[in-house]
Structure formats: C-alpha cells, structure tokens
C-alpha cells in the first residue's frame, strides 16, 4: 500500500514544513517507508512551492508520484495547476479562505479549511500550515495525532514561546478534519 500526498502553495505559506512534519512523524511512529520531496522554483521567495509525501508499506519508488491520493492546495493557482493529478476517489484539501474557485470534479472528496482566515484570527498568519496539517491528520488519520504533535513540539523546541499558539492551531485543524471525516 502506498499513499501519495502533494502539498502546493506559495513560498512562505509553510507548505514544506507541513509535509516535512507529517513525514517525520510517520518515520518515527511507524515502520512504514516514507519520503518527503520538496520542489522549488528558482526564486528564493514568492514562487510556487510544492512538496510530496509518499507513505508506503514497501520501499518507496518514485518520491513524487504522478497520481495523488491526497492533494492539499493553499492557493488558487495551485488548484488549477495540480488538480488533475488527484486520483478519482482522492481527497482534496483546500485553503478555503483564498481558494474560491468552484470545484467541478465530482469524483473526489473535498475538505475545505479556511486556514488563512483562522490563522489571522489566532493572531499569527504563519500558523496556517499547522492548521492544515491538523486537518489532514484529523481527516485521514494516517498517523496518530499525538505523534504529529510530538514532532511539531520537537521541531519548534528552540522557540517554546510559539508552542501554545501552534497547539491551538493544530487542534483547531484536527477538529475540522475529524468533523468532516464524520460528515
């Protein structure tokens, strides 16, 4: 079994961190194989930023699949550019604060999370990726939420002041994810 996720957005939206935390947590909590593959443009900022996470029982072959089980899009251009990669039956996670286009594909599930808005409400626009990570984990349950939280904690170790905010962000995401899973 192999599960392919792509996360796409602007540079600066924390797309890479989202993917990396998820993959790292998987590595440490399971004996599955997992790869995280970032894909950058030439620009240091503001270009597109995508990453791929593959979780597999067997060795991981292509670290970036050509067909995705899950797709997270953080902005409109990414939606248009990558939606075709999502397999029928796959799940699309969208940052519904700024991705406003209508989703016409009928063969997929759609999870809408207004992460930009939620982050601004929490007082720090940067935590939008942690909210989305929560939502993804809450919805897919691909790794236990605690493990992901442990990873976040560990990686943010150097800046403990940020932990409470991130905890709130992650849990808010988890809740939305879990809720939509049940819906």
């Amino acid at each position: 079994m192999e599960r392919n996720l792509m996360v796409a957005g602007f540079g600066g939206q924390g797309v890479m961190t989202l993917g990396k935390f998820l993959a790292d947590a998987t590595c440490h909590s399971t004996d599955k194989n997992v790869t995280f593959f970032p894909s950058y443009g030439a620009e240091q900022r503001g270009g597109t930023a995508n990453c791929y996470v593959v979780i597999s029982d067997d060795e991981v072959g292509a670290p970036l699949g050509d067909a995705m089980d899950d797709l997270i899009v953080m902005n409109d251009p990414s939606l248009h550019k990558f939606l075709y990669k999502l397999l029928p039956g796959g799940t699309l996670f969208i940052n519904s604060s700024i991705v406003t286009s209508e989703i016409t594909r009928q063969d997929i599930k759609v999870v809408k999370v207004p992460v930009t808005g939620m982050a601004l409400e929490m007082g720090n626009s940067k935590v939008l990726n942690i909210i989305m990570l929560g939502a993804y984990v809450g919805y897919t349950q691909v790794v236990p939420a605690e493990v992901v939280w442990n990873t976040i904690q560990q990686k943010l170790g150097k800046k403990p002041a940020l932990l409470p905010l991130n905890k709130r962000a992650f849990e808010a995401g988890l809740a939305i994810g879990a809720e939509q899973r049940e819906a």
């Binding site: 030439a42 620009e43 240091q44 900022r45 503001g46």
Partner: protein
C-alpha cells in the same frame, strides 16, 4: 493629470519580477531600463547576466541578454564588446559571482581596461543559493555556511572591490552607491548613466558597486533589512566615487 512616472518599458509589462519583496535587484533593473531609454540605447544593448538572483531578470527585460557561467561575466563581456564594439555592453553581477568565483575575470578585464560597464550588486551574501558566506559578508554576520557568523580568523575580512580595483591603472570610473533611500537611489541611477556614457565615449572600464539588502537571506523583513543596510553595510562599504578619470583629465 500627466503620468510622470511609471515602470520603464524595458521591463516586460506583463510580468512580475521573481525577486523577493523589497529586493533591490528590482530597483536596479528598473533604473537600468530608465537609463537605456534616456540614452536611446535600447536597441544597441547587450546585457551579460552573472549567475545569482539577477538571473531572474533574463525574461524580465525586453532587450538582448545572455547568461554566462557563474563568475565569468567580465570574460564574456570582453568577448561581446571586442567582437562588436558598437554594442553597449554591461555585466550585472552579484558579490559571490564577481568577487568570489569571478575575481580573476573581473580584475583581469579591469586591468586590461576593457571598454564595458560592470554593475556590481553587493548584498553581502549569496542570495540565490540560500545565504552562504560571500567575500563581502560582514564580520559577525551569519551565513548558512558560517553558522556562527563570519570569523576573521577563519574567513578573513570583507573584501572591498572598488578599493582593490583602484590599485589597477586602467579603470576609468569606480563608484560605490546604494539604494537605501530615495536620494541614494537617484545617485545610483546617475552613476549607472555616467558609466554607460563613459563606455559610449570609449573611455574604458567603469564599475558601479551598489550596496543592497537581501531581506530573505539576512532573515529580516524588508524594512529591517533597510536598517541593517544603513547601520552596518554602509559602515563597512562607504559610499562615494573611488575613481573618476574624467575628473583627473579635467
């Protein structure tokens, strides 16, 4: 009302630059375009881009340009200019490009007194590759390959390109500018124009150093980076004309 300022036509109308927010590469390419328009040289220009963030300009400008191997701008420009002396040739190079890997090419072309212009953008860091130590990185300033900051014992001191070139006999005009405020930005534009004019008049080698910020790799937002530029960078790299042979001639 009349439009008195808008972006030079020599940048592609339909395009947004790939530079980071606040990056002065954008400002400089804008001014180069303005100067070329003012001098009516837009159809006679050949820009030689170094390798660095400036490479993001290759599709952004509307005039002839080439990208050469990292550091070899002054060699490539030597070829372009000598083969076609009527073209206005300039290189555009970062501090890593010009003063690290390309130091021999820069100095040798300057020493030969090649009749082209160098726009040297000194942001004290490797921008494009993510913040590694540059020859011009300030003492104590952190870089991704100098995690504890530049340490004179290990890395030596920042290099002063204009002062070094000033030890050569041939160069005609060397000035250090910045874009840290509107007045200096205008001075920079004037220096670029002067350097291009020197070339048109066949005076030989001119170099305009522009001390800028790299908000992204300095890890500062654009306005804080502006502060660092003024407080630290311009202390190490004082602005002014280092050589102007037209003054000596006069």
């Amino acid at each position: 009302m009349e439009k008195i300022y808008s972006r030079t036509k020599l940048l592609r109308e339909d395009m947004v630059s790939g530079f980071c927010p606040g990056c002065m590469h954008g400002t400089i390419f804008k001014m180069i375009g303005e100067v070329l328009e003012e001098l009516h040289m837009e159809s006679k220009v050949a820009m030689v881009l170094g390798v660095g963030c400036c490479g993001l300009a290759k599709e952004y400008v509307t005039y002839d340009n080439t990208t050469c191997p990292h550091g070899r701008g002054c060699a490539t420009a030597t070829g372009v200019k000598r083969a076609n002396p009527e073209t206005l040739v300039f290189t555009y190079q970062g501090d890593g490009d010009l003063a690290s890997i390309g130091l021999a090419e820069t100095m040798s072309a300057a020493n030969r007194g090649e009749n082209f212009t160098v726009i040297f953008v000194n942001n004290g860091i490797y921008g494009m590759t993510g913040g590694q130590l540059a020859p011009t990185t300030l003492v104590g300033m952190k870089a991704s390959t100098a995690p504890k900051g530049r340490n004179p014992k290990e890395h030596g001191y920042p290099m002063h390109v204009c002062e070094i070139l000033n030890q050569l006999t041939a160069p005609y005009y060397l000035e250090r500018c910045s874009c840290n405020n509107p007045a200096n930005t205008r001075k920079t534009k004037a220096a670029i124009k002067k350097a291009f004019q020197n070339q048109i008049e066949g005076k030989g080698f001119s170099l305009v150093e522009i001390v800028t910020s790299c908000p992204t790799n300095w890890g500062l937002d654009p306005l804080d980076a502006l502060g660092f530029l003024e407080d630290k960078m311009l202390k190490e790299f004082p602005l002014g004309v280092i050589r102007d042979k037209s003054k000596e001639e006069a």
